[in-house]
Amino acid sequence: MGRPTLDLTLLRRHVAQLEPPFSRTSEVVSLGDPGLDMALPWRGLPKVGVHDIIGSVADAAADGFAMALAGRLAGGRGRVLYAGGWRCWLPYGPGLVRFGIDPDRLFLVAVHRPAELLWVMEEGLRGGALAVVIGDGAVADLTASRRLQLAAENGGSVALMLASIGGAHSSAALTRWRIAAAPSPDGAPGPRWRVALERCRGGRPGDWLVDWHDEAHRFTVVPPMADRRLALATA
């Protein structure tokens, strides 16, 4: 009976060696709420890899979620590069303070073509000088997202692919989040979003109502009961 277990451990070790390094050694950043962290297979968000974030054109909920993730991933010292362009609305500095993003460590890059955007992201990820690269309007197919994933593993950085449409195409991203605005609670002006984890490599999808705390720079999951009470109250 001992032999099959031995083979299994051997196989596990083999597989572990074959896997990309991030899944074993990479640092993980907590999102601030144990419920969210435990829902992810890494018990937090790894500091290496590609993530898709999908929002809608009419609001800035996904932008806020991406900036919040970037703020947590970069911490106090990492640099963030934001590349985008054809929406013409670069992020507004005074509105980023609440996400803990230091303006001295944020770079804005204006691009004009989707191919240029992917190039900027790949360059930014590979160098290792940046903690987070946000691509606004970045739609990467399977090949392109694999390239970005490799670049991110090379440089030890995170790519956040911010798109208003999508989800139908296949992608090599570690996770795919869909963010929608949600009515804010009474008396608390902080952002509240409906956050759906649609795909997660090695994990299961989930759906939460999440608050962002401006001072603590962290997420908290709103308990479903509280949400229902609010929904009833606002209806």
Binding site: A58, D59, A60, A61, D63, G64, F65, M67, A68, R79, C88, W89, L90, P91, Y92, G93, P94, G95, L96, V97, R98, P103, D104, L106, F107, L108, V109, A110, V111, E116, W119, V120, E123, G124, G127, G128, A129, L130, A180, A181, A182, P183, S184, P189, P191, R192, W193, R194, W212, D214, T234
Partner: protein
């Protein structure tokens, strides 16, 4: 002698038949019925002369076009690089003839003397001692005088420069104005005649003539690397770093190609600078081959020698500077920026962008109330439903999108800052607004606008 087509230029065969520039085309056809004619293109000629002058930069950086048909080269301190004045003269003549040009070349002590000797003299190298005698025999037209003045002098019987130089100077000035003595002085080297080079000169430039023309990109890169190594030695002795580099390639067919790169911080690292050329080399066109390369640092800045260890503590890491430079190389200098706080209540003024590697700003954003994550560059007008003129809005319509407002906070009054330009004319009342889906907007109402009209509402930003 009005109207009609005239000859502007002729070749040697036509000259033998008695044709002259300026002759009416009909007369020329009468002399030579089988004459082949093409329309004159002065602009194209000037452009091509300019290209040729650039190409002559391979012998000296001081190359300039001279009139419609001449190129002036200042070869001070350059001749010995090409085996002396006579050898340089022969080389230039040989190269230009092989490109298919008919040239007359003169090499003299002053630009004026060279001009005269090329056009009215025998051409070739004018020995320093022989200059006064040789020039003296030339007609006065060789002094580049206006045609009217030349005619006047000839009517007076003054035919050669020597005769003119013999006349009393004060009388000449009184009679013919200042041009004549000035031209004489320039011819004999008594007066200044600066040459304006076509391309800006640099203190830092390195050149390489190649024994065999090269055409492959790898070879060009290898040549560039050697030039950079050479330049880096000089720069490091002078404690300077490069901010801008221009590489000019001289092709065998008499044309040039320029590549310019810029760096965010001064640098003299050849490996790093070489990498910057990777992007512009995408349009490298070696044609029939490249025979010379000139690398010039057009902008340099002081760069004291550093110890490796300091870099971690001081300033940005090399990887970041390299990344910024690559991005700027491809997207343009203005494409990579950093937001920087400005102490201003006016939303448009509170955030400016500065170059990506500008030193960190000293102020921070302190806002009395939350600010949107995206600010529209220009506020967009919205149709708003209000119960009473000063009441909070109930609903609004933006870009064909109807929003029913569920909650709203405000107003926050912001008055224009008259001491800053450009001055906005009216104050604004900002409202933070949330619609029924939870989308959050930043709307404002112009509160001291023209009276008697309903207040105008605008959407100015999106909250996360």
């Amino acid at each position: 002698m009005k109207g009609g087509l005239r000859l502007t230029g002729i070749d040697a065969a036509a000259a033998v038949e008695g044709l002259r520039p300026g002759m009416p085309l009909a007369d020329a056809r009468a002399l030579m019925p089988h004459l082949a004619v093409a329309a004159a293109e002065p602009e194209a000629d000037a452009a091509s002369l300019g290209c040729l002058a650039d190409w002559c930069g391979r012998w000296t950086p001081w190359a300039a076009t001279d009139g419609a048909d001449g190129i002036t080269l200042d070869i001070s301190g350059c001749a010995h690089l090409f085996g002396g004045e006579a050898a340089l003269h022969d080389q230039i003549a040989d190269r230009l003839r092989r490109l298919g040009f008919t040239v007359r070349i003169a090499l003299a002590d002053t630009p004026a003397a060279a001009w005269a000797w090329a056009r009215y003299g025998a051409g070739g190298v004018l020995a320093p001692g022989a200059q006064t005698t040789a020039l003296g025999l030339l007609p006065v037209a060789a002094l580049r005088l206006p045609a009217a003045l030349t005619g006047k002098l000839e009517r007076l019987g003054v035919r050669t420069i020597a005769e003119l130089a013999g006349l009393p100077r004060a009388a000449l000035t009184r009679r013919f104005g200042k041009t004549l003595p000035m031209r004489l002085d320039q011819a004999f080297g008594r007066g200044p005649e600066p040459i304006g080079p076509r391309s800006p000169l640099t203190d830092w430039s390195r050149r390489r003539s190649l024994a065999e023309p090269i055409a492959r990109r790898e070879d060009v890169e290898a040549g560039l690397r050697l030039l950079l190594d050479d330049l880096a030695v000089g720069l490091s002795h002078a404690h300077r770093g490069v901010r801008q580099l221009v590489l000019r390639l001289y092709r065998v067919d008499g044309s040039t190609q320029d590549f310019a790169v810029g760096t965010a911080r001064p640098s003299r690292d050849p490996r790093y600078l070489c990498r910057l050329f990777a992007e512009p080399f995408g349009r490298l066109d070696t044609g029939f081959g490249i025979e010379a390369m000139v690398l010039g640092a057009t902008v340099t800045e002081p760069l004291p020698p550093r110890q490796r260890d300091w870099q971690v503590v001081e300033g940005e890491p090399d990887a970041l500077i390299g990344l910024i430079d690559r991005l700027r190389q491809r997207l343009g200098t203005a494409a990579v920026v950093r937001p920087s706080p400005v102490e201003s209540h006016w939303p448009e003024h509170a955030a400016v962008t500065v170059p990506a590697l500008a030193p960190p700003g000293r102020s921070v954003w302190q806002t009395p109330s939350p600010r949107p994550i995206r600010l529209l560059p220009v506020p967009e007008p919205v149709e708003v439903t209000v119960a009473a003129p000063d009441d909070p809005p109930l609903a609004f319509r933006w870009r064909h999108l109807d929003c029913r407002i569920a909650r709203c906070e405000g107003p926050e009054r912001i008055a224009p800052e008259w001491w800053r330009a450009p001055v906005a004319s009216h104050g604004r009342e900002y409202w933070r607004i949330e619609d029924e889906q939870g989308r959050r907007y930043w709307l404002f109402r112009v509160f001291d606008g023209p009276s008697g009209q309903p207040a105008a509402w605008y959407l100015h930003g999106l909250f996360p």
